[in-house]
C-alpha cells in the first residue's frame, strides 16, 4: 500500500512581536507525516516544539503573530484558512493533547460532558448518543468502570486517568492526525510507559498518524518511525529513528543522546549534559545556532549550514558543516559509553 500523505509542513516560520523584540520561535521547519506513522519531535525547552504543534492547529493565531511557509493537510494550506473553517479541522481532523493533564481539563465540568462537547462540536448527534460514545471511548483508553466514571469531575481522576481522558477526548471525532505535546512529562515513570503504549495502540485502532513531542529521546525511542530534532526554532536533524539513533549527525543530537540514562553504564558516571543554554530567540547567533555551545565548532560555522542529506542513508538530513568522517570520529566521546545509545 502506498503511503498516504496526511500532513506536510514546509518552511514554517512563526514570529511573535513582543515588547522586547521579535521572537523567532519557529524558524524553518519542514516535515511530512504519512498515515500510520509516528513522528517524534525532540528538543530542549524553548526550541519551538509546542509553537510548531499549536501552529498546525491554528492555535497561535494572534495579531502579534506572523507566519511564513505552509501547513498542508490533505491538499489544503491550513495557514490560509479563515478562523471559522480552521475550527472544523480542530478536533475533527487533527486532535491534540497537552502536557499537563491536571490543568488541561475544565475543573467545573464532568469529564464525560467535556468529551460530549467535543463530539457535538463536529457531529450532529444527540446528547444520549454522544454520551454512549464517551463511555466507549473511556473504555478504549483504559478507564475502569467507564459507565460511572464518565460522570466524575476531573479532580476525581488521577493524573494518568486525566491524560487518558484527554486522549479519549482528542480521539472522539476520529481525527487522522493526533498531536501529543509532551503527554507524559507531568506523569510518573510507570504511567508514562502506559500512556505511550496506549497512544501507539490507538494510532493503529483509529488508523491515524501521530506527532509525539517530547524533550526525552527515551520516550520516542519505542514508538517513533521518524525523528525531528529541533534547536532554537529550526530542525537540526531529521531522519528515520534507526539511522538517527545509530548514526546521529548533529552535535546537538549527540548531546541529547548522551543525556539518556542508561543501565549499561556504571551508576557513578554522571549523565552527560549539554553545556550552556539555548540562545535568545530575539537575537540569534550568527551562522549555526548551536555554534556557541558546540565543542566542535570551527570557522565555517559562522555561516549557517543548510539542512541536507550528507550521509549514505537517504532522507537522513542534518545541519552541520563537519564532514561525515569527522563526525563519526568525534561523536562517540560526546555521547559517552562507546557505542551509540540506542534503546
Amino acid at each position: 500500500m502506498a503511503d498516504e500523505r496526511l500532513l506536510e509542513v514546509r518552511g514554517l516560520k512563526v514570529q511573535f512581536a513582543t515588547e522586547d523584540g521579535v521572537v523567532h520561535a519557529v524558524d524553518g521547519v519542514d516535515f511530512a507525516l504519512d498515515r500510520g506513522k509516528v513522528l517524534g519531535i525532540v528538543g530542549e525547552s524553548g526550541s519551538g516544539k509546542s509553537v510548531t504543534a499549536m501552529t498546525i492547529l491554528g492555535l497561535t493565531r494572534d495579531v502579534n503573530t506572523r507566519f511564513e511557509g505552509e501547513v498542508i493537510y490533505k491538499d489544503r494550506n491550513l495557514l490560509d484558512l479563515p478562523e471559522n473553517e480552521m475550527q472544523q479541522y480542530r478536533g475533527a481532523e487533527i486532535g491534540m493533547i497537552f502536557q499537563d493533564p491536571m490543568t488541561s481539563l475544565n475543573p467545573v465540568y464532568r469529564v464525560g460532558d467535556q468529551i460530549v462537547e467535543a463530539i457535538q462540536a463536529h457531529e450532529p448527534v444527540d446528547k444520549r448518543k454522544a454520551r454512549r460514545r464517551a463511555v466507549e471511548l473511556l473504555r478504549q483508553v483504559g478507564i475502569p468502570n467507564p459507565e460511572s466514571r464518565v460522570d466524575d469531575y476531573p479532580h476525581q481522576f488521577s493524573g494518568g486517568m486525566r491524560q487518558r481522558a484527554m486522549i479519549a477526548m482528542a480521539l472522539s471525532c476520529n481525527p487522522d492526525v493526533l498531536i501529543a505535546d509532551e503527554p507524559t512529562t507531568a506523569l510518573d515513570v510507570t504511567i508514562q510507559a502506559q500512556i505511550i503504549e496506549l497512544i501507539d495502540q490507538l494510532k493503529d485502532d483509529f488508523n491515524s498518524a501521530v506527532i509525539l513531542i517530547t524533550h526525552d529521546l527515551g520516550v520516542v525511542a519505542e514508538i517513533a518511525d521518524d525523528l525531528l530534532v529541533m534547536y532554537a526554532g529550526r530542525v537540526v536533524e531529521h531522519g528515520g529513528k534507526r539511522p538517527l539513533f545509530y548514526d546521529p549527525q548533529h552535535p546537538y543530537t549527540w548531546g541529547l543522546l548522551g543525556s539518556i540514562p542508561r543501565l549499561d553504564r556504571p551508576r557513578s558516571e554522571r549523565l552527560h549534559t549539554i553545556e550552556g543554554s539555548p540562545p535568545s530567540l530575539i537575537r540569534l547567533p550568527q551562522g549555526c545556532k548551536f555554534r556557541p555551545r558546540c565543542p566542535h565548532a570551527f570557522e565555517k560555522c559562522l555561516e549557517e549550514p543548510p539542512l541536507e542529506n550528507r550521509v549514505e542513508t537517504p532522507g537522513h538530513l542534518d545541519r552541520c558543516w563537519l564532514t561525515v568522517e569527522a563526525k563519526r570520529a568525534v561523536r562517540d566521546e560526546t555521547i559517552e559509553g562507546g557505542e551509540p545509545a540506542a534503546a
Binding site: E83, R90, G95, T103, L105, P107, V108, E117, M166
Partner: protein, 255 residues
C-alpha cells in the same frame, strides 16, 4: 440580651420592645416599614449593576489593550471614585429639579402603582449601580484575562469550539465564580440598610434612611436595630454564597 434590652428600654416598656428614644416608636416596626423601599432599591440596582458590570467586564476583556478597553477602564475608575452623595445630588438636581424628567425623590409602593414605583426608582437605582458597575467590570475583566490563559481554555479551542463557545462556556463560567462572592456580600450590605447615602439623597424612606435619621438625632436603639438587621443579612447571604459556590465549583463540594 434580655437584660440589655431592659436596661435600654426601661420600665415604660412592659412588652420588652426596642423603642426609639426620640419618637418612642417600636424600632422593629419602623425597620419593617422601611423594608419595601430598601428591597426595591437593592434588587433593582443589583440587577442593573450585575448586568452592566458583567457586560462591561466582558467587553473590556475581549478588547483588552484596545481603545474600548482603555475607555472602559477610565470610566470604571471615574464611577468608582465618584461619591454617591455627590452623584446623587447632581443627578437629582439636573434631572429631577432643574428639568423635571424624573420624579424628585420619594418612594411609591410597588403594589400601589408599579409604573410610578419604577419611575421613582430609576435615578436611585442608576446612581447606586454606577459605583458597583465600575468595580465589578474591573474585577471580571481581570478574572477573564487570567482564565483565558488557562490550559483548559486551550483544550477547548483545540476541540474545535467557536470563540464564542469558548468564551461563554469555559472562560466566563470560571471567571464568574469569584464575582459571586463579591455580589453576595455587596447585595447583603445594601439590603441590610447599607445604602444610607442613596436613600438619604433620594428621600427613600428605607432602612438606610431610618438609620441615617437616627444617627442625626443620636438615637441609639434604631441604630442598634438596623445594625442587627444588617448583620443578619450578611450572615444569610454568606451562607447562600457558600452554597452557590459549591454548585459552581465541584471541587469544593463535600463528597
Amino acid at each position: 440580651m434580655e437584660k440589655a434590652w431592659h436596661g435600654l428600654v426601661g420600665d415604660s416598656n412592659p412588652d420588652n420592645k426596642l423603642l426609639s428614644y426620640t419618637t418612642q416608636q417600636d424600632v422593629v416596626q419602623q425597620i419593617k416599614q422601611g423594608i419595601p423601599a430598601t428591597f426595591s432599591l437593592t434588587i433593582g440596582a443589583s440587577v442593573i449593576w450585575l448586568f452592566f458590570g458583567i457586560l462591561v467586564g466582558v467587553i473590556a476583556a475581549v478588547t483588552a489593550g484596545r481603545l474600548s478597553d482603555r475607555a472602559i477602564t477610565i470610566l470604571a475608575l471615574v464611577g468608582i471614585s465618584m461619591p454617591v452623595f455627590w452623584l446623587g445630588i447632581v443627578t437629582r438636581y439636573f434631572l429631577a429639579e432643574k428639568n423635571t424628567w424624573f420624579p424628585d425623590g420619594e418612594y411609591v409602593g410597588l403594589t400601589a402603582n408599579p409604573v410610578q414605583w419604577a419611575y421613582h426608582l430609576i435615578l436611585p437605582w442608576t446612581v447606586l449601580a454606577v459605583l458597583y458597575i465600575g468595580f465589578y467590570g474591573r474585577v471580571l475583566r481581570n478574572n477573564i484575562l487570567d482564565t483565558i490563559n488557562e490550559d483548559f481554555v486551550r483544550t477547548a479551542r483545540a476541540k474545535g469550539l467557536s470563540r464564542r463557545e469558548v468564551l461563554t462556556k469555559h472562560v466566563l463560567r470560571n471567571s464568574l465564580i469569584p464575582v459571586v462572592t463579591l455580589f453576595g456580600l455587596d447585595f447583603a450590605g445594601v439590603l441590610g440598610g447599607g445604602a444610607i447615602l442613596t436613600e438619604k439623597v433620594f428621600d427613600l424612606h428605607g432602612v438606610g434612611w431610618y438609620a441615617a435619621d437616627a444617627l442625626d438625632k443620636f438615637d441609639l436603639p434604631p441604630i442598634m436595630g438596623v445594625t442587627l438587621y444588617g448583620a443578619g443579612f450578611i450572615v444569610l447571604l454568606s451562607v447562600l454564597v457558600d452554597l452557590f459556590y459549591a454548585y459552581l465549583d465541584p471541587r469544593i463540594r463535600p463528597t
